[in-house]
């Protein structure tokens, strides 16, 4: 589960990571006053207005703007609240913006990258840091792997102070910056473990120019206004992702969920325990198991077709969930044919068959008629397969477009031929 930047900032602050003064607005009227409040607190006239959406590419789309007056703040807010944001990550239809973060501007002497994530290869949570912050870290990792510093977290003890010190020295922090950076790393580790994060990323982590107490920004936390002769280390932007499997024990994180950021069809599928991802093709897929679902998509493509979705009904789907799965697939009007590929293990073929029949009987077309009009190719194998096939045979009149397939290749061939 992802959260917004402003929520991430609050979370960082609550774990003692200093962030610049800022406030969130959801209407144009608040823009000017919020600008004044945030900038006067910080003793600067510079602020940044940032659209609060999960998608990346905000800067290029004009949804992150530096402003120097209440009027500029209002103009930026007006633009962001009245236009849809379109970036490589949003798709051409764009994304509506309802919340803006207005943060005090900060003088930046240097930008760093700091994150914790789970390293599959070592099976450890790992701190990743780089003195080349503010840019895409994957690019740095690819082009200059030596610029990436890693420190594994002990599974039970977390990040240790000596590790954080070592990283701070290697990043080039000096003087009083070192203890500030060390505290930020230790607190980020505590946060990561306490909240079952899958990614906790600060990018950029910055240091203000030395002796910049006049233009520097007092942190929200800890509440200290002491000058920073060596510069102050601050988290400017934060990105978090939480382990969905662990959300059950974090009600506070669950409360941060923003359903408007999710694809409605994917969200609807989740409610029924289905894993659905919309794609660009015209062949709807209903499969059990993520691996088989991917393999089914691959087979369709090898036969010259294009899958319209990835849909894994999982192992514990009910008849009702299978029925819902068909509704979700058919709600995508690009779908010209459906391929069902089930190899029952924990999933029973007869439950799938009953779900198919129910879905067909209950499905209402735009012209009011009932039943599926698109070609339906079904391949069943595995647990209770005989019962499943029998059910489908007996319901043949409800499934006029049904073709049975003997195996995976046969099914793909038939469905690709059927959609033309």
């Amino acid at each position: 589960m992802k959260i917004h930047e402003y929520q991430g900032r609050d979370l960082l602050a609550s774990f003692g990571v200093p962030v610049p003064a800022a406030a969130v607005i959801d209407n144009l009227e608040a823009a000017a006053t919020t600008y004044k409040q945030v900038t006067s607190e910080a003793g600067t006239n510079l602020a940044v207005v940032k659209a609060q959406v999960h998608a990346g590419g905000r800067g290029k789309a004009g949804f992150v703007k530096l402003v120097r007056s209440p009027q500029e703040a209002e103009d930026a807010a007006r633009f962001m609240l009245s236009n849809k944001m379109v970036s490589a990550q949003t798709g051409p239809e764009g994304l509506e913006v309802t919340k803006l973060l207005i943060a005090a501007g900060v003088d930046i002497a240097h930008e760093y990258y700091l994150a914790i994530t789970t390293d599959r290869a070592t099976r450890r949570h790992t701190l990743i840091a780089s003195a080349e912050g503010g840019v895409e870290i994957e690019k740095v990792a690819h082009e200059n792997p030596d610029a990436i510093i890693k420190a594994p977290l002990h599974p039970l003890l977390g990040l240790q102070p000596y590790q954080a010190r070592e990283v701070a020295f290697r990043l080039g922090f000096r003087g009083k910056q070192i203890s500030q950076a060390v505290n930020i790393m230790l607190n980020l580790s505590k946060l990561f473990l306490a909240k079952d994060c899958s990614i906790a990323e600060i990018n950029p982590l910055i240091v203000t120019p030395p002796s910049s107490s006049g233009t520097g920004v007092p942190p929200v936390t800890p509440t200290s206004t002491s000058p920073h002769p060596d510069g102050q280390v601050l988290a400017i932007d934060a990105k978090f992702n939480f382990d969905d499997n662990a959300l059950f024990r974090h009600k506070d994180i669950q409360a941060l969920f923003d359903p408007t950021e999710e694809n409605p069809a994917e969200l609807r599928a989740q409610k029924f325990g289905l894993s659905y991802i919309a794609l660009d093709g015209n062949i709807g897929c209903l499969v059990n198991g993520a691996g088989l679902a991917m393999a089914t998509m691959d087979t369709i493509k090898l036969h010259g077709g294009e899958p319209a979705n990835f849909l894994d009904v999982g192992g514990s789907a009910t008849e009702e969930a299978v029925t819902e799965a068909f509704k979700i697939i058919l709600a995508d009007h690009a779908v010209k044919g459906i391929m069902v590929n089930i190899f029952g293990g924990i999933m029973q073929c007869d439950i799938i068959a009953a779900g198919i029949i129910n879905a067909a009987r209950g499905y209402e077309n735009a012209d009011g008629s009932k039943g599926f009009k698109v070609p339906l190719v079904v391949r069943l194998e595995g647990t209770n397969v005989d019962a499943g096939r029998e059910l489908l045979k007996n319901a043949a009149s409800d499934l006029p477009t049904l073709q049975a397939a003997t195996d995976l290749g046969d099914a793909a061939e038939k469905v690709v031929a059927a959609v033309g």
């Binding site: 599959r120 691996g291 995976l408």
Partner: protein, 334 residues
């Protein structure tokens, strides 16, 4: 012969009274697995539908039955604890079927597992095999097929003598060497559940047997991996060839390819799922994702894995419908 489990393996089920636990205890029992009991805290002293004894703790179950293996069906919030309990009671083979276990829990469990195995190896460095083997979580389990006796509820629910199925896979699709026309036995290791069944089914259809099939699960932090299984298959005298099924995401398959190139003499076939998956989208479970689709070079792609495996001399099926055929080609079966 086989790896990890055989006809003599005594098995318990943790979570035996839950709906999946009871259903699949029955399935394993019917297949011929030596199911000897189960655990549900608070229901000790009762019997399950198959007349198997239920215990309050794994320790009690092990003391009373001599169980060497367990299959875990408890809900995800309790799965980490169940694995630790099994290890503490001395159960050598732990198979966690449960899906949705928090990654943080598995990081801690895996650390304990590694520490215990390391301590055991230190005491006896000749001990090649791990003291404890964890399969999963989020996996279909492990099966060493036995010969079908003709008994059982139906052809789809056969009884086998000397078969051992631990988990949720359908038993009937498997073939014992005595039933295989080609006379060849394949060891199968897979990250994906249902795709494993597909591979088993295809090899069976083409007249091959399976020595053992291991579904290692798709979670980012788990127990046994591709390389562990490949090593065991390479050393198993009755495994003739190895079929490995991977997915996009992570670098396990690339590492396995390097291992195969260095150490494996038996024929290897492979398939990688997710060639058509778009970068940045998580496909169903936590494991399958192509990362770094932005500025950097994408990692964990199917093409990179396929290339590494081909370079290691593996026969790679490009279509999942051809996994069996690729294995047959690698074995030079007409």
């Amino acid at each position: 012969m086989s790896i990890l489990v055989d006809a003599n393996t005594k098995v318990i089920c943790q979570g035996i009274t839950g709906s999946f636990g009871s259903q699949h205890t029955k399935g394993c029992h019917h297949y011929g697995t030596k199911m000897v009991g189960g655990v549900t805290p608070g229901k000790g002293g009762q019997k399950d539908d198959n007349d198997l004894p239920i215990f309050d703790t794994v320790r009690q179950a092990v003391e009373a039955t001599g169980a060497q293996a367990t299959m875990i069906f408890v809900p995800p919030a309790f799965a980490g604890d169940a694995i630790l309990e099994a290890m503490d009671a001395g159960v050598r083979l732990i198979c966690c079927i449960t899906e949705g276990v928090p990654v943080g829990d598995m990081v801690r469990v895996r650390a304990v597992l590694d520490e215990r195995n390391f301590a055991a190896r230190g005491a006896d460095s000749q001990h090649a095999r791990e003291l404890f083997t964890l399969i999963g979580p989020n996996c279909p389990g492990i099966i060493t097929p036995g010969p079908k006796t003709g008994e059982g509820d139906s052809a789809r629910d056969p009884y086998t003598s000397s078969g051992c199925k631990i988990g949720i896979m359908p038993g009937y699709i498997n073939t014992h060497i005595s039933e295989a026309k080609s006379g060849k036995s394949v060891g199968i290791v897979s990250r994906s559940g249902t795709l494993t069944y597909e591979a088993v089914w295809q090899t069976s259809q083409l007249g091959m047997a399976q020595s053992t099939c291991v579904g290692i699960g798709g979670d980012p932090v788990r127990g046994i991996g591709h390389i562990d299984c490949i090593r065991l298959f390479e050393d198993d005298p009755e495994t003739d060839a190895i079929l490995m099924i991977g997915e996009i995401g992570g670098s396990d398959e690339e590492e396995a390819a390097a291992y195969i190139k260095m150490h494996v003499k038996k024929p290897v076939a492979a398939f990688i799922a997710g060639r058509t998956a778009p970068p940045g989208k998580r496909m169903g479970h936590a494991g399958a994702i192509i990362s770094g689709g932005g500025g950097g070079k994408p990692t964990g792609t199917a093409d990179a894995k396929i290339e590494a495996l081909q370079d290691a001399g593996a026969e790679v099926a490009l279509s999942p419908a051809d996994m069996g055929k690729a294995m047959a080609r690698a074995l030079n079966l007409g």
